[in-house]
Chain length 161, copies 3
């Protein structure tokens, strides 16, 4: 076992939980650890490109289109898990973070990339939710649960967030 | 430490989180790992038999009966953690899963059993929620936190979902 | 690696999840394990002193004051993650726990302390939410993500709750 490897399954798409995941990932990377984040279910929303995306003829079912339209695209529109106040909670939280000069979620994501944190999108969740690779940001790998388990076996800290 | 052992505490009774837990459990079992799932609190609902169950004279308090009536029985009635739309979200998610030929939750549970995943119901949660053994599906073991910790000590991946 | 060390990140402030965290922490401590609980985001509410606290001139922004007023102080006012019924769920759950002679959350917290479970408050979350040390109960350590990772590297079970 390699004590310098960490994995995080980011299942949640809540702003506060996503923040926590990236704070841990950045911290571990800064300490020299190899970190892999697996984005699954609602966590995939973090990786979605904002705006219209050409999907190369990728077909979605009506239900998939509906889920797609109702779920947030990217880090900018995630809600809080608590005290969301119909969407007002996350902007207030971001404002208070800015006042405290805390890193924004976008900065944390960028920093994680720069530090070499590996982003893996769960292909099974993508199939169910109807996301194609073009809809997700660049630099993401695509894999399933077997890949996750392979990495988790080599890591000494494995979190499900 | 045995790198081929995994434990999952399934605390959540949300359809999406339960799905994630069973996908991981099945994946690990398919790779030859020994997997133990501990069902606690809302997660116990996954193991409840549907319909009326004779409970051999097991007495419940009024509150326990109330909690029992309001919580879902089995996999068929679990809600989504997000976008539940007063119960409409989970059926829509199931429909889109079927369209994608993804395994249903029932199939995942059955497959986990067939692959030898061990199901353990948390006895403390059962006492609090007033569930007796007869109300849960067959083939479940009953144990407390000490049993969990004993297994977690031997595992190399321990998730709380 | 020391198989007798456990860490729990308590991110959630939901009564039921907090209960689960303390049941695991107490169980592990009773088995002789060294346990560290990291309280972050909503989990910090568990450590807040009830009532008015003199904060030695610590200044909060308007937003921080607002978040502070709206979040529960201490274990007494936490809500359930499910079936909260506008706040009625947690008292009902506590009542049924009492009927079953289960330990109350306050007793679990006290027992964890007596067994030497280490409580660490996440300083980054404190900065964002505007909590100063005087607002949290005594006997708590203050540290950031690096301290967490240092302990997690030495532990064999690391949970995010």
């Amino acid at each position: 076992m390699d004590t310098s490897k960490k994995t995080i399954i980011l299942f949640s798409g809540d702003f506060d939980r996503v923040m926590a995941a990236f704070i841990i990932a950045n911290g571990a990377a800064a300490m020299g650890d190899e970190v892999t984040m697996f984005f699954t279910f609602w966590g995939l929303n973090v990786l979605r490109k904002d705006g219209k995306v050409s999907t190369n003829g990728h077909k979605k079912s009506t239900l998939q289109s509906m889920f797609g339209r109702m779920m947030p695209k990217g880090t900018g529109r995630l809600g809080l898990s608590k005290m969301n106040f119909a969407g007002a909670g996350a902007p207030l939280m971001k404002k208070v973070m800015k006042q405290q000069n805390a890193m924004s979620l976008d900065e944390l994501v960028e920093s994680a990339r720069e530090q070499g944190v590996k982003f893996v999108a769960c292909t099974l969740s993508m199939d169910i939710l109807g996301f194609c690779e073009e809809e997700l940001v660049d630099g993401v790998e695509f894999a399933g649960v077997a890949a996750y388990l392979g990495e988790a076996d080599e890591a000494n800290v494995n979190l499900f967030i």
